[in-house]
């Protein structure tokens, strides 16, 4: 049984209320930080813990915090990125819905470390009911004196507010999020300057994922060094994984970084194997934008070592034979899945969510979707595979924000590992979908 630090209390009734949360050790990190620690010490503990951003990029959180510019007389902000929109990722929703105070506690402790008097939780529009849960929790925290002026009698004052977005994937990109938070159109900014220098309203800002901020709580409670003992190498601590797809037990799992992928897929404690006794075909390991990998490469690296659920192991071999841990959106696909159709779904999503600022992404994502539609219609040619490859290579790395890459990588990986499926459709001029859902659909139609 792996250790759980974030959602270990999720089974307790009414854990979303302040009293129950407090009775189970809640807000201890705020007490510890505010009463016996200096802000820099908290940052130091986070640095020692080796915590890496849980939103997808995996950038060391302590380092991000230390980059924050601290000019005199200018406010600093902490913004929590709860715009969790990556297809296949739903861990933050689970955390906020079940234990909203875990996030709020993390916000207070982190803001203390950063010296932020105001913090915002930017939550996606589709999670409006979660925003209500958070707002209720914040109201409780204010009433109990965990938020507001002079928390715990110290001279640290802090306000936290929830802002609901309009439901755009692009607002999960940190600068687009800041634009949206400022009340503007959610378009990514051109960097530099980075938010650590000029973020919200031009002030130094740290934008962190929900899970990252929640992880600050156990780090302060147990100490950074203790936290760093969990995990392997530079992948320390625990990680929430949203498991979905053709597995027996889809859901949110908290894992210790370092378990093998095989254990995660087949272990009874986690996904419990592929359902209906089918074989595993492919896995998207970290949300829809990371490269898809076939079974042989997701279970073992190209060198033949077992692949672990860590940042390093999953990206072993680069994009040729590896992938990324990303946001932890783990999508497993069984042998009946059509990779082409899956890719079409992903590409349609990125086409829909492109903000339209820069040309490669605006025009390229739509083009990719149209070509993939040709495959589903059975009208594609073999040359269309090369065209797809060429288009994705011309989007990747040429855009303002990472959405271009997010749109390009799945296309590249699908062609890299499953080119035969594309060619088969192109040669036969026919697309047959053998997936479980499609058969169900057909049955329903009869």
């Amino acid at each position: 049984m792996g250790r759980k630090l974030l959602i270990h209390n999720d089974h307790i009734p009414n854990i979303h209320t302040l009293d129950v949360y407090r009775a189970h050790g809640g807000y201890a990190s705020v007490e510890k930080a505010l009463k016996i620690m200096q802000p820099d010490q908290v940052t130091e503990e986070v640095k020692k813990s080796g915590l890496r951003g849980r939103g997808g990029a995996g950038f060391p959180t302590g380092m991000k915090w230390s980059f924050l510019a601290k000019p005199e007389g200018v406010p600093r902000y902490l913004v929590c990125n709860a715009d969790e929109s990556e297809p296949g990722t739903f861990k933050d929703r689970y955390l906020m819905e079940k234990i909203p105070h875990a996030l709020i506690e993390g916000m207070i402790t982190s803001s203390f470390a950063l010296g932020a008097k105001q913090s915002y939780i930017y939550i996606r529009g589709e999670y409006f009911y979660v925003a209500r849960i958070l707002e209720a929790a914040i109201a409780e925290a204010y009433a109990a004196g965990w938020l507001g002026k002079n928390i715990l009698g110290t001279d640290f004052s802090h306000d936290c507010s929830v802002q609901v977005g309009g439901g755009a994937y692009i607002c999960g990109e940190e600068t687009a999020l800041l634009e949206s938070l400022e009340g503007k159109r959610g378009n990514p900014r051109i960097k530099p300057p980075f938010p650590a220098v000029a973020g919200l309203w031009g002030c130094p800002t740290v934008v962190n994922n929900v899970e990252t901020i929640a992880a600050v709580v156990p780090i302060v409670n147990m100490g950074g060094e203790e936290y760093a003992k969990i995990g392997v190498g530079k992948s320390t601590g625990t990680k929430l994984i949203s498991a979905s797809g053709h597995i027996n037990k889809p859901g949110v799992y908290e894992i210790e970084l370092g378990i093998t992928v095989e254990e995660f897929i087949y272990g009874e404690e986690y996904c419990g194997g592929i359902r209906n006794g089918k074989k595993l075909k492919a896995v998207v390991a970290g949300g829809s934008s990371v490269p898809i990998l076939p079974t042989e490469l997701i279970l073992k690296t190209a060198k033949g070592e077992p692949r672990l659920m860590t940042y390093e192991s999953l990206s072993d071999g680069g994009f040729q034979t590896g992938t990324m841990l990303g946001s932890g959106g783990f999508i497993a696909m069984d042998e009946d899945t059509s990779i082409v159709k899956n890719l079409f779904t992903f590409s349609r999503f990125y086409h829909h969510e492109s903000c339209g600022q820069c040309s490669p992404c605006r025009e390229g994502t739509g083009w990719i979707e149209k070509i993939l539609k040709k495959f589903l219609d059975g009208t594609a040619n073999e040359s269309d595979v090369d065209l797809l490859w060429d288009i994705q290579s011309k989007i990747e790395g040429k855009t303002i924000c990472p959405l271009g890459e997010a749109a390009a990588w799945p296309v590249a990986a699908a062609i890299r590992h499953f080119k035969h499926e594309f060619l088969e459709i192109a040669r036969n001029k026919k697309f047959t979908d053998i997936s479980h859902y499609d058969r169900l659909n057909k049955l329903a139609r009869v």
Binding site: S359, E363, I400
Partner: protein, 327 residues
Amino acid sequence: MKVTIDGITIDVPKGTTILQAARMIGPEVAPPTMCYYSKLKTSGGYCRTCIVKVTQGSAANPTPMPKPVASCRTEVMDGMVVENTINKDVLEARKGVVEFLLVNHPLDCPVCDQAGECSLQDLGYEHGAATSRYEFPRREFERIDIGKYVQLHMNRCIMCFRCVKVADQLTEKRVHGVMHRGDAAEISTYIENVIENDFSGNVIDVCPVGALTDKTFRFKSRVWFTKPVDASCDCKKCSGKVRLWMKGEDVLRVTARKDQWGEAEEFICNECRFDKKKTSDWKIEGPTKVDRHSVISQNHYNHLNELKVQVLKQQKALGFMDINKRP
């Protein structure tokens, strides 16, 4: 600060962007631009045609930048080394960007008033492919009327955001902007509002394509059949320094004067642009110098002095005797 672009080193002040530095060196190394406009703050970064490869970040930190960068929005560092036209990857990537800009462009140049002075035409000619790989129907927008002076053809728009920034930075109140998202994004007014202010005509000058054109000039003439003449007048609202596009004695169109990068030197007011269409309204300064590569120079005078200098240079190079020093 020293920066090297395509092997040519230049000393520039702090805060200069790569593009500005390249323009200082000259048009041979300057990347093409579609959305950047030096007179408009925060413009640039969107079209990605000006991307370059930074092979050395700075003298202090020589690591190359991992991705190609938009030269219009990247400031130079001391000792930076940039590759533009000598880098195959950059040229290939730029070709890709041009293709992306063209996939949904209607290519209706034969009926477009911008033809002949269109940045997208120039860009496609210099960096694009001869054929298109795009086989789907092109995007179309519903037509909207934005007033009596400016014609909006949204189908031709490449989303450079210049017209939005002009309205923001030149006028009191902007009534047009970007609606919708992704490839459905369009320049529009909410809801079918009319753009009315003294400087609204400048959106025509900054538009790199034929998306915003002059209604008073619509279908009157192809630009290369008109003669550009620099003229001025005493205007209370603007500098009054304009360019007249004449056919015979008729003033067909008035625009701002544009520099060698296609940017307006000074923005002009609507009164100068749309109302003063008589030669007597203007003090003619003389014929405009037309860049010889431009289609507008076809069937036109070239700048005689410059031509003379060029001829003399060629003759000297060939060992001709100087005509002025003949015994």
